[in-house]
Symmetry: C3
Subunit: 354 residues, 3 copies
């Protein structure tokens, strides 16, 4: 009888990667712009910290700690007045900086302390906050190909019940095509090389279909380009640029036919769940309107692939939870390097308790 | 960026009020009389101690520990025979004092020890037990106006998932009218004074409606008196008389137009839920039958106000649970005093573990 | 007021019996044969260890640790190829010994370590595994009367949310007939004697019906034999032969009219639930086909008795969980001896942590 050797971590393993928090000194997406209506609040979170997004009827979205300083109930249950949010319980009111500006039964000279505010940025159809204590860097500029009219972009995602690191590893290890065998058919990935920097890492793959035709969903994305081009090469690059991830796919030329951007925002304090935000941009073929007609097929296809990925990473998290540690027995060198990168850029648990 | 200063307790804070247990040396309501049918048992509890109420076909209700001494299964699943309750499993039988009076397969000389019994009192449509080790005081006499034929009384309530102290604070801080804005319209409460004793504390309020008419539910309760009286004054007194609470409302004269009594009985061992029992008595207007006709409106109105209160106190408890402590930043002096009173009369956690 | 004296364990109590694990050095049933289809996997467990059963299209069932050595996801989600199972994620493949025999993107000379395999045996319509580290004993031969054509056998059972020891005690203490009063009518059991060995213990009972007729279900099982025989004696023997249990009932002669075999396999790591497997064999009466006609009545009757037993043992477990210990106040000497036997043959918690 053999013991699952995953019990003993590999010699170069970065401690317990699943115990390392996403580093808060970055801009994290916490909502789609469309979710925060004018004159309304929206409840979200970063790693267990409740955050309320407030969009005044006129003016920019702002982000506060989602707890009234008085009795700690969510401000997101409150009422937006001009550029303030009023708690639903005793009516305490806060401005965009978190300052308490009114308590209906107290003089203006006696106002109590307020709540924490978060730097907030809206762009690319997303609302970002900066949850860290460090001074905010410049917010993300244009993401992927979402602003390029040569592409059509789909925005989707959901809360996935796993640590963000499982998401990075899943996407970067293209050897997992067996998982999608019922959706994509038989695909043989081939590792082509890697490049690295202090906070980024990227891997190249090519693909071969041993004996089958690609499914309709894939044809919609890459088919027309591949056939039309002479210098066809089928290259995919998956890149982790901490804390985000991108996937680009080229069939020919410099412009990728597919450009995907992914953000993973921890939801709960233990970071055993993350909200995944995906911007998937597909290059428009030469025939006008073709991509729009095929869009529902592409949506179905990408939803299904994403659902298969979510199911498996949630099983990985469940195994971690029951085993009480990371028994991963990684054999693919790029993933071993990715794990080190995530560990080096994240926040170890010691930091959180000290 | 501001930090929510609720993190640091106020200098005169009574430790962690939500960790202080309801003192067991009092009479606590554990069921409505109508819930305990003749010849039947009823399962209830006090702070995690399971209690079975037994009403023999003839004779008074009695209260025992709801566990058979033998295999610890609930006696409330058993059978009532005369003035005993027989366990459903192996048929062990107990009398009103908790003594084991029969084991079908054992001689009467070999009977094992029994179970704990609780002093039990029935009155005002409620069944009370005395869960403490101290010698029982006289049980509550007539509660509020429920025995006065000049009033009509509604009995309602439910299990609320919060510490009993949130209930006391909610009712006594009338500045929370903003919470009920959709039910009661705009009401401006005004603090009028307070009085205190070692185990009681009461606060007076008056009310003003800046610009609106009262809703139908409120008119049913106070409307006809207010208009009919010359010495109108609209006074409300909220009183905590440990461990109960009352609310009285006068429009004129000595007799309140509204008299509410509330009992909060901890359900679970951590006391993070309580069963609230409410006796709401409304003075009958001069026109006979008017109150009876309006009763369904009043029931709808009071249910809705109570539901709004339950929702918010459960949010307070949820915040306490996730924050791991009481971050309350209280600014209203009467509530600060109420918190001290509840802490002083309750049972600190040290007592429970020693 | 009395305190439930169950709080203090009896002087000869075997520590906390509910903290003692089922000893893994035995053959435990983990599935019915019919649950594991050819070419398919089946997910089961022993005491929190996930186990996958694999039945190749041709060949014997085998049992592996239900986690891929790579990323710990269940192999039971994978694909059966010939005599191997392939993980659904990156396609790692294992044979019946747990050896990793293929990683699609790795040379055959670089294959990583595999997973644990379990000795596996199929017989009597059951699949057994040997979860212990000790050398496997001979697997169970013919169970009860299930292979005897003079009997008709029913196979049933379910996951019961309690420690296996509650199951043994429930069946062996026939004084619990009061529990089944609504199903079986009034039955007065009488203890007749006991016999013991190092890993077995058995108790005899006879029964008397004070004033009532037996229910239809019981008549189906024993009725025709009882009336036809001269040396009628109505003897029941309940036997624990670690870790299994049997119940035999004779009305006359050597061959029991009823022969029941029960296996209790711990499901979760804390062993607070078990999967109960029951083989209930009823001797065929002389009239051919009578038992087959009556079978649905017998199924209904035995299901109902079993459901009553499950409900009560789950209440015992719930009491244990809330009391944090075994407050059992046992007065029936055979059950006190049974408890000692289960403790002596089980695995104490110290063993598990060291």
């Amino acid at each position: 009888m053999l013991r699952n050797t995953g019990q003993e971590p590999a010699p170069d393993a970065p401690g317990d990667l699943r115990a390392i928090g996403a580093h808060p000194d970055h801009w994290y997406p916490v909502a789609w712009s469309r979710e925060v209506k004018p004159g309304k609040t929206f409840a979200t979170s970063f790693a267990g910290e409740p955050i309320v997004l407030v969009r005044p009827s006129a003016g920019s979205v702002f982000a506060l700690e989602d707890r009234c300083a008085h009795r700690q109930v969510p401000l997101s249950k409150g009422v937006v007045n001009d550029c303030t949010v009023r708690c639903c319980y005793h009516g305490w009111s806060y401005d965009a900086s978190g300052r308490c500006v009114d308590v209906p039964y107290l003089g203006k000279d006696k106002l109590p302390n307020g709540v924490r505010s978060y730097p907030c940025h809206e762009g690319n159809g997303l609302i970002f906050v900066w949850p860290g204590a460090g001074s905010p860097k410049a917010p993300p500029g244009t993401i992927g190909a979402s602003a390029d009219r040569a592409y059509k972009t789909r925005r989707f995602g959901k809360i996935v019940r796993c640590h963000y690191s499982f998401m990075h590893e899943n996407l970067m290890d293209m050897n997992h095509q067996f998982l999608h065998r019922r959706t994509t058919g038989k695909v043989a990935p081939r590792y082509r090389g890697r490049r690295a920097g202090p906070d980024w890492f990227e891997v190249d793959f090519s693909f071969r279909r041993p004996d089958e035709k690609p499914p309709l969903g894939e044809t919609v994305i890459v088919g027309s380009f591949r056939s039309a081009s002479a210098d066809s090469r089928d290259l995919m690059t998956v890149r982790t640029e901490y804390p985000y991830q991108t996937l680009r796919f080229w069939t020919a030329g410099d412009k990728p036919v597919l450009h995907v951007w992914l953000g993973y925002t921890p939801v709960d304090a233990a970071q055993r769940s993350n909200r995944t935000f995906i911007l998937l941009s597909v290059r428009r073929p030469k025939i006008p309107g073709l991509l729009d007609v095929a869009w529902p097929v592409l949506a179905w296809f990408t939803n299904r692939v994403f659902a298969e990925d979510c199911a498996i990473v949630e099983m990985e998290q469940a195994a971690y939870d029951s085993q009480g540690g990371d028994w991963n027995q990684e054999v693919f060198p790029p993933i071993r390097e990715l794990r080190k990168l995530l560990a080096a850029n994240g926040r170890p648990p010691a930091h959180e308790t000290s």
